[in-house]
Symmetry: C2
Subunit: 180 residues, 2 copies
DNA sequence: GATTTAACTGAACGTGCGTTCAAATCAATC
DNA sequence: GATTGATTTGAACGCACGTTCAGTTAAATC
């Protein structure tokens, strides 16, 4: 059910997908879904929460890098790979924030901020190492994440560029954009 | 009516806003809206089309720059200013693409590609001038636009940074990211 | 002030929504 | 094969949706 909901929410949007549609693709009547989720809102929230937990979990398991440049490269490649591997969850995580109830939104937003904070720390380390130069690490973090998130709007497995190609291209831009 | 619809679509999403809601905020009954739009879909399309026309129109009226670096700086500042000035239209233009009918989507998508193409041309000029170095201008264009679009997710008029501050920060990153 | 035109109302149309629940069905245990 | 517990069905609940339209009201013209 989660998988079907993820796919439909990503394709048509949370508000435009009915419980009957989800049930239909699962091969079941709408009522049966309520054995697995208390309501539609929780279904959305759980998908988004799972995604954020996986994102933060996967990054936290990443081995420490010897210096800030290596850490930023590791992050750049990790972020691109992680997001390219689950385009549907990513799409939902960024597009359906406003369809979360206020309490649920706060939970997800806090997780998102946690991720952002890790990257900001990384940039600050590079600045104190003297290898990065950016006047506002907070804004630079957001700029970099926005740039990397952009990959998901166009990247296709079967496309002209392979994932390593994309990683190389973006790493080159990320590196230069915060270089001294 | 357009203004109200723009605001509501931006706040709650096209699918989540009813014609009765729009009518209510206008101070009129739902039926009256149909004197001004044939249907809800056209209302969305017109808002998006207007936005894209304004974007392309405003950029095309920009004076030519003496060289590629100046042109890229002009573009960076223009893009940030233009988008910061109409956050609701921008939000809709990027979030409601999937709620357009297939024909309408094609129209908007073509306009978006036109904008992208202008920036790509600009990058290519810088490469041939020898002032830019980026292995894939098409991807670099998308990366830059994604980065600049990111401003709208956090920028607030009353915030810590003024618009010129933001322009300066992003121009510094844009410039370096494609530098030789 | 009568006449024409434009704008709006209010009710209705058929449809689909999220959710509930008694009844039916299925699976596992004894 | 009877009993139990978990799943699923199918119908129903009240409500909201986009859209239409005959009838009313307001504005503009003469």
């Amino acid at each position: 059910m989660r998988a079907v909901a993820l796919n439909l929410f990503a394709r048509h949007g949370y508000a435009a997908v009915s419980m009957r549609q989800i049930a239909g693709e699962v091969g079941v009547q709408a009522g049966a879904l309520y054995n697995y989720t208390p309501d539609k809102q929780s279904l959305l929230f759980d998908l988004m929460k799972d995604h954020m937990d996986q994102l933060l979990g996967a990054w936290s398991e990443h081995p420490a890098a010897p210096n800030a440049v290596a850490a930023l490269e590791a992050f750049t490649r990790f972020h691109i790979r992680f997001h390219a591997a689950r385009p549907e969850a990513v799409f939902i995580a960024y597009m359906e924030l406003r369809n979360l109830s206020p309490e649920n939104f706060l939970v997800i937003e806090k997780l998102r901020q946690g991720y952002e904070a890790e990257i900001e720390t990384l940039l600050r380390q590079g600045i104190s190492e003297g290898v990065f130069d950016t006047p506002d690490p907070k804004i630079a973090t957001r700029a970099l994440i926005a740039m990397l998130n952009g990959v998901n709007t166009w990247f296709r497995e079967e496309g002209r560029l392979s994932l390593p190609d994309v990683e190389d291209l973006y790493w080159s831009m990320v590196r230069k954009s915060v270089a001294v």
